[in-house]
Amino acid sequence: MPPDWSVAELVLRSTLETLMIAFAGTAMAVVFALPLGFLAAGNVTPGWLSHGVKWILGFIRSIPLIVVAIVLVTAVGLGPFPGALAIAFHSVGMLAKFFAEEFETADEGILQAVRGTGASWSQTLRYGLLPQSVPQIVAFIVFRLEMNFRDAAVLGLVGAGGIGFYIQLYVRGFQYEKVAVLLITIIAVVTALDQLTYWVRRWVR
């Protein structure tokens, strides 16, 4: 059964939408995950606070993405926007945890030295902690972006936009020649993202 390329344009457009959902969701997640990562890092935040934040992050991680998406679609309506929100919410839990764990490996002597210039808490984070962790942080972000694309591809099943809608449509309609086009597209995009990951990691060192 050869792939049916007549749906190529439709598939490309929805793939693009899925990519946008993944990008937007990852970007939103990073904006929230960085401060949460600082707050969850035990070496720069008092124990009661960092443990509390870590507990909240665990709570966020434990909610399945599909549940988040269904709730948000119900609350916000159909379309890519609730999809991106769901991705963002779900990613924050993991990203912030990884960030915090990376921050906790930072060299305490350097933190003390930066603090020793009279720097404030936020300045110590910016000039003592962050520069030490940047390569790992960036690696986590691009890795999560790739994961988010695959997650976003599934989200269409619950009406949250993107390629998932057509996966569901064609699979249920037994139109496997069209499903083949979808799969080929997804594989191509994931491979491209993988390459992007590699380039970014090499660039940020």
């Binding site: 003390q112 030295a113 210039t117 009279g118 936020s122 300045q123 000039y127 003592g128 940047v134």
Partner: protein, 276 residues
């Protein structure tokens, strides 16, 4: 300027420091001598507020460096600069970024968070880099520098702080002997051009003699000499050194584990003025 009274510092059951009285006036160049585990680093940490004494009082610039008020702690941090034995620079950051970070205590916080240091701070950093002979290396990452260059970057960061007191804890113990002397000379020269009190922890009395205005000798956490470098005799060196013999293996400052005898005169087998 600095007042230490009846201070005891206990680490578990080990008495790391036992100082009845030590005061340092503005403009002095004090070299603190002692074996590893003699309490030199503990004293430096006390003055920088990284450690609270178990008993007694520490006053730096009239204030308690380990005060419970963050505002006072931060003020003392800013007015007292420290050059650590291991430098503690950010290896991934450039030389100039590391030096600029010395000014963090006096730049507008919001602007500094976006890396936007005021123009005069940049000019200051440039001139200090010239002073420590690092011009041209501004954009190099610290991780690509040699030990001597890192040392000078660390000194530049401390100078950038415009502190009133600079504490250098074993600043040259990671360097070759020739480099060590040059680095100390550079530090002392830079300090001499400013109105700064200098406190240096050092192993080697003969090296210290060239730069010090005052010697403080510590052995097993106790003050065994305090005064003019000229009065620091072979016997004092012996005292400082012998203390080290007794306690060498449970020394508190683990960085000092390569301690060498401080007795200056030759004639004793296996003793050297500077580390090989």
């Amino acid at each position: 300027m600095i007042e230490v009274r009846d201070v005891h510092v206990l680490f578990g059951r080990t008495l790391a420091l036992d100082l009845q009285k030590l005061s340092i006036e503005a403009g002095e160049r004090v070299f603190v001598l002692g074996h590893s585990g003699s309490g030199k680093t503990t004293l430096a940490r006390l003055l920088k507020g990284r450690l609270r004494p178990t008993t007694g009082t520490v006053r730096v610039l009239g204030k308690d460096p380990a005060s419970s008020q963050p505002k006072i702690r931060r003020e003392i941090q800013r007015r007292v600069a420290m050059v650590d034995q291991e430098f503690f620079l950010v290896p991934r950051a450039t030389v100039v970024a590391n030096v600029l970070s010395g000014a963090l205590g006096r730049v507008p916080p919001m602007r500094s968070l976006f890396g936007a240091y005021p123009h005069e701070i940049w000019e200051k950093a440039e001139s200090i880099l010239g002073e420590v002979e690092l011009s041209g290396l501004e954009e190099r990452r610290v991780e690509t520098l040699s030990g001597g260059q890192r040392q000078r970057t660390a000194i530049a960061r401390a100078l950038m702080q415009e502190a009133e007191i600079i504490i250098a804890d074993e600043p040259v113990s990671n360097l070759d002997p020739e480099l060590a002397e040059d680095a100390l000379q550079l530090l002392v020269d830079c300090v001499a051009r400013r109105d700064v009190t200098l406190i240096v922890n050092l192993h080697q009395p003969e090296l210290a003699r060239r730069f010090a205005s005052r010697f403080v000798g510590l052995a097993d956490g106790r003050l065994v000499y305090d005064g003019d470098p000229a009065g620091f005799t072979e016997e004092h060196a012996e005292l400082v050194y012998r203390g080290g013999r007794r306690k060498r293996n449970n020394g508190r400052d683990s960085h000092d584990d390569t301690a060498k005898p401080v007795a200056p005169e030759a004639g004793r087998p296996g003793m050297r003025l500077v580390r090989p």
